[in-house]
Structure formats: C-alpha cells, structure tokens
C-alpha cells in the first residue's frame, strides 16, 4: 500500500530565506505526486503536481518540486519565503484514476519577520 512521510513536523524560517520541505513516498508503480497547502481556516489548495515528464515541476506562488525516483522523494522548494507562506503543507500520492489519495502527516511552516 502506498504511504507518504514528511519527516519535518514543524519548520521555522526567516522571511526571505529559502525553503525546502521534505516528502518521501512508497508506491508500487509510477507515482502521481502532489503538494497542497492549507492556510489557517481554509481548505486545501493545490500547489503543484507531478504525473510524468520533467522531474522538476513548477507550481503556483513561486513553489517548485523535484521528483527523484532513486530517493523516492518529492521535495518542495521556494527560493525566498514570504510571511504569507506560513501554513500547513501536505504531500500526497495518488493513482491516475484520481482515487486512492494518501496524504502525508503535514509540515507546519512558520515564517519569522
């Protein structure tokens, strides 16, 4: 069965600093991978997705993620964090059918002024 781990429960960075959130997955076939963000009191917003092709994917709000099959990882990055990026970030793996999404436990990002 597929699974997703996010090793960092909570990360704090200063505004303007770079960011990398880690995600590791376990999946029997080619994974379909996603990053979602949940701001306080909100639902989940899709940041980016990887289905196939270029392993470096660009998303909204200046985020990008890189798929590394050899490391079973799909880490999220941003070169310069803004205070509005403070939120909970979830990595997920799913099937091409759109079903059987499994979410990681989430990483809470705090941003210092």
């Amino acid at each position: 069965a597929q699974s997703v781990t996010q090793p960092d429960i909570h990360i704090t960075v200063s505004e303007g600093a770079s960011l990398e959130l880690r995600c590791n997955y376990s999946y029997g076939a080619t994974p379909y991978l996603f990053w979602y963000v949940q701001s306080p009191g909100q639902g989940l917003q899709l940041l980016l997705k990887y289905f196939s092709g270029d392993t470096l994917v660009q998303g909204i709000k200046g985020f990008e993620a890189e798929f590394k099959r050899s490391q079973s990882s799909f880490n999220l990055r941003k070169p310069s964090v803004h205070w509005s990026d403070a939120a909970e970030y979830f990595c997920a793996v799913g099937e091409p059918s759109g079903q059987n999404f499994v979410f990681g436990p989430g990483t809470r990002l705090s941003v210092l002024p």
């Binding site: 379909y32 996603f34 979602y36 009191g41 909100q42 639902g43 989940l44 917003q45 899709l46 997705k49 289905f51 979830f90 799913g94 091409p96 059918s97 759109g98 079903q99 999404f101 979410f103 990681g104 436990p105 989430g106």
Partner: protein, 114 residues
C-alpha cells in the same frame, strides 16, 4: 479548476444530534470524496461518493455513522450521525474531474460537538 462550495462552513452541535454537510460543484465531476481532518492531523478518506449508487467506505468508517448521498454529478451530502465529541473535526469534500487530474478541495466544514 472546479469551484467547490461546502455548507455549513462551521457548526457547533449537541451530543447525540446529526448534521448534514453539503458539497456543491460548479461543473459535473466524475468523482467526489469526503475526508475527515481531526485537530492537528492529516486528512483521512471517509468514503468515495458514487453517483447513483452506494458510497464506498474506507476501513473504519460505516454507512450508519456517515451516510452519504450523491444524487447527481455536481452535488453530494455527508451526514455525521449521533455525534460525540470525538467527531469534532474538519470535514472536507474533494472532487476529481477526470483521469490524471488532481483532487480539488472545498474549504471544509469545521464541526465542534459539545
């Protein structure tokens, strides 16, 4: 992407009562899902809402506790029955329009049971 509206956005309910949550999508979608997010936790899939047939429930969730309807391709409801404080969570509806498409989420229903 589809616009998903959930109602109510939040509610405070008494123990033993039931609440029905609505999920409306602005376009026809193939799949609709219901998730639970307990305080400080990640998302857990409750069930897949199937149009015209009974929902498919995940392990640990039963129809008597979480009856689901999906009368058409744009609307679904989730009822949380006989509520207890342990049911205090965020309940989220998500949709997927086609193969190779991500799930998109509504803003959720924040439910507190006293």
């Amino acid at each position: 992407s589809a616009v998903i509206s959930q109602k109510p956005s939040r509610d405070i309910c008494q123990r033993g009562t039931s609440l029905t949550i609505q999920c409306q999508v602005d376009s026809q979608v193939t799949m609709m899902f219901w998730y639970r997010q307990q305080p400080g936790q990640s998302l857990t899939l409750i069930a897949t809402a199937n149009q015209g047939s009974e929902a498919t429930y995940e392990s640990g969730f039963v129809i008597d506790k979480f009856p689901i309807s999906r009368p058409n391709l744009t609307f679904s409801t989730l009822t949380v029955s006989n509520m207890s404080p342990e049911d205090s969570s965020i309940y989220l509806c998500s949709v997927s329009g086609a193969r190779n498409q991500p799930q998109h989420f509504g803003d959720g229903t924040r439910l507190s049971i006293l």
